[in-house]
């Protein structure tokens, strides 16, 4: 059979394949340069930026490894919108694939400011981080509430023609309701999941292992929970779903796709294997060939019940 078609469309953004790198993992893109050809991937989502630079949480104990996962409480440390556009984005664009900016803010207006400032840039799409568990204002404060999620999505929608992709938190009772609210407010897609609120404790000192006390859990430990959320959301919305959470290999990624994700992103696994996304991509291609599936589209949401 011919080579399977891996093309994915998210609003006006076309990706040559469904494999992406998740936000927060890849820095601003340059840090990993040379370890693999990241231009081969469908899209690269850069670290979340805010209108002004943020120092993040105080140094020390910002991450801790846990069984099958990792807790982080970086606190959205970032260079700010202006320095991002001026100093970071040009180098990321050199990869020659879709670059997706991730934005956050304390208010819907700040999300709109970021979206507006990026409207004239060469980013392919804008992910909205309404799900960071590590900041007091903004972040997950929006994502845990369907109305607030809709409000911030609408604010960004009004500020840019770029595809906008709210990134959803699993720390809610009904993630599908939040996804539907975002869709109605003009989202071109939704991505999920961000990390689970989580905590680990040193029993000898009785202190949290993260200096911030709590953080977000990522890695293989959360994958089945992530697949479940993707399934729930894909049942509820018509826009594409980008699935992520603990993907380590092609089989993991295929679970998300079969559950309803049009595209997938790798995160924590990149720290073990800088080529994990390439490995996932090759595995997806091989799977489609082996099962004589002509297009990735035919696999999306093909769960047999």
């Amino acid at each position: 059979m011919s080579t399977p078609d891996l093309t994915v469309r998210i609003g006006a953004m076309t990706m040559k394949n469904p494999v992406m790198i998740a936000s927060g993992i890849f820095g601003y893109g340059d840090e990993f340069r040379g370890l693999a050809d990241y231009g081969d991937l469908g899209a690269l989502v850069l670290k979340t930026i805010t209108p002004e630079p943020r120092p993040g949480n105080p140094p020390a104990h910002r991450t801790v490894e846990t069984p099958g996962g990792m807790l982080n409480a970086i606190g959205l440390e970032n260079v700010g919108l202006e320095a991002f556009v001026r100093d970071k984005l040009p180098a990321a664009l050199e990869y020659g694939t879709n670059i997706i900016a991730s934005i956050a803010g304390d208010t819907p207006e700040q999300f709109a400011d970021c979206a507006r400032a990026l409207d004239g840039s060469e980013v392919a799409a804008i992910e909205m981080n309404i799900s960071c568990p590590n900041v007091k204002k903004g972040g997950m404060a929006f994502g845990v509430d369907a109305e607030a999620s809709a409000e911030v999505t609408a604010a960004a929608r009004a500020a840019t023609r770029k595809p906008i992709i709210p990134k959803l938190t699993p720390n809610v009772t009904d993630i599908a309701a939040v996804a539907v609210a975002c869709e109605k407010a003009g989202a071109d897609a939704v991505s999920l999941i961000n990390t689970f609120s989580a905590m680990a404790i040193d029993v000898e000192t009785r202190r949290p292992l993260l200096a911030a006390g709590t953080g977000g859990l990522s890695g293989p430990a959360i994958r089945p929970a992530a697949v479940c959320r993707v399934y729930q959301v894909a049942q509820a919305v018509n826009v594409p779903v980008i699935g992520m959470g603990g993907i380590w290999n092609a089989s993991d990624a295929l679970e998300f796709i079969i559950a309803g994700a049009s595209a997938v992103a790798v995160g924590t696994a990149l720290y073990a294997d800088p080529s994990v996304a390439h490995r996932v991509l090759a595995g997806i291609r091989g799977y489609l060939e082996r099962h004589a599936i002509e297009s990735i589209e035919h696999l999306v949401g093909s769960l047999q019940l």
Partner: protein, 297 residues
């Protein structure tokens, strides 16, 4: 053995990427050392010409072919300082067997391979005009000391190594007196360094006093100090050297990516830049770059 092409100081980290390679390194020697230390000699010819003292290797501690399966423990790589180079092909690491990563590595057999990314980070900057160098290595700082001392000796500087550990037993290789079964790293004196070993009852204090007593031996120009070890020791040295003796320090911090992307390992610095990463901006910093008050609070 000298490598003229490596004589230039390492300078700032590369402006693009980490400059590091990913490779499979075969274990040529694996040896348990006293005080729960362990030594691995790796075949990594691509690393040898690039590595600078103070840089590290980021190692996947499970078998390389298991990287496709998510492990339950040690899902992240672990950073290990380069202890020594054996040109043209071999790189040595020396580590304390404490956590999961160290246990996995110590259990490897000769002939096994490791998935390694490196060399990473900013190493020590060594001026070719150096006349006298004092290296203060305490506790964990002993691992990368042989590499640093070796490079300093190559500059023809007089090199004074002050090595400290809590007790005599906690020093994993021979420093100033022969110990049966322990002469597994090169004899640092044979390299040409003047070695003083101090065991300390209180971490980091005695060796700094030893160091202070030797400051008089430093000329006014072309003298430098290099320090690796506990933060209390580094801070004390930074205070006593002040601005009159250039001091480079190597910091340790828990890492995730090892490449500067995740911002896990940041330390407070004095400049406008705020926090800098140990993995990419460091591990070696000029002592004046560090906000010691905040680092050790």
């Amino acid at each position: 053995m000298t490598h003229p092409e490596d004589a230039s100081p390492p300078g700032p980290p590369p402006s693009s990427g980490s400059g590091a390679l990913r490779l499979q390194a075969r274990i040529l020697e694996s040896e348990s050392l006293p005080a729960a230390h362990h030594r691995l000699l790796l075949r990594a010819p691509q690393i040898v010409p690039r590595a600078q003292p103070g840089q590290f290797l980021h190692i996947w501690c499970h078998p390389p072919d298991e990287i496709e399966r998510p492990p339950c423990a040690a899902i992240l790589r672990r950073p290990y300082s380069i202890a020594r180079l054996v040109p043209p092909e071999e790189v040595e690491i020396l580590f304390r067997v404490r956590g999961t990563g160290g246990r996995l590595l110590a259990a490897k057999a000769v002939g096994d391979s490791l998935d390694v990314i490196g060399p990473l980070g900013r190493g020590f900057s060594i001026s070719p005009d150096l006349r006298v160098a004092i290296v203060v290595a305490g506790g964990v700082g002993l691992a990368p000391a042989p590499f640093l001392v070796g490079r300093l000796v190559e500059t023809r500087a007089r090199v004074i190594l002050l090595a400290g550990a809590e007790t005599d037993d906690k020093i994993p290789f021979r420093v100033d007196r022969p110990r049966p079964g322990r002469a597994t790293l090169p004899d640092l004196e044979a390299l040409g360094a003047e070695v003083t070993f101090a065991s300390e009852s209180v971490e980091g204090i005695l060796i700094t006093a030893v160091a202070e007593a030797r400051f008089g031996e430093l000329p006014e120009e072309n003298a430098a100090m290099f320090a690796i070890g506990p933060r209390a020791m580094l801070r004390r040295l930074a205070e006593v050297t002040g601005t009159h003796i250039p001091l480079q320090v190597s910091l340790e911090e828990r890492m995730a990516c090892g490449l500067g992307a995740c911002r896990s390992c940041v330390v407070p610095t004095t400049g406008q830049s705020g926090y800098q990463t140990v993995c990419r901006d460091g591990p070696v910093f000029d002592a004046s770059e560090i906000d010691w008050e905040r680092l050790t609070s």
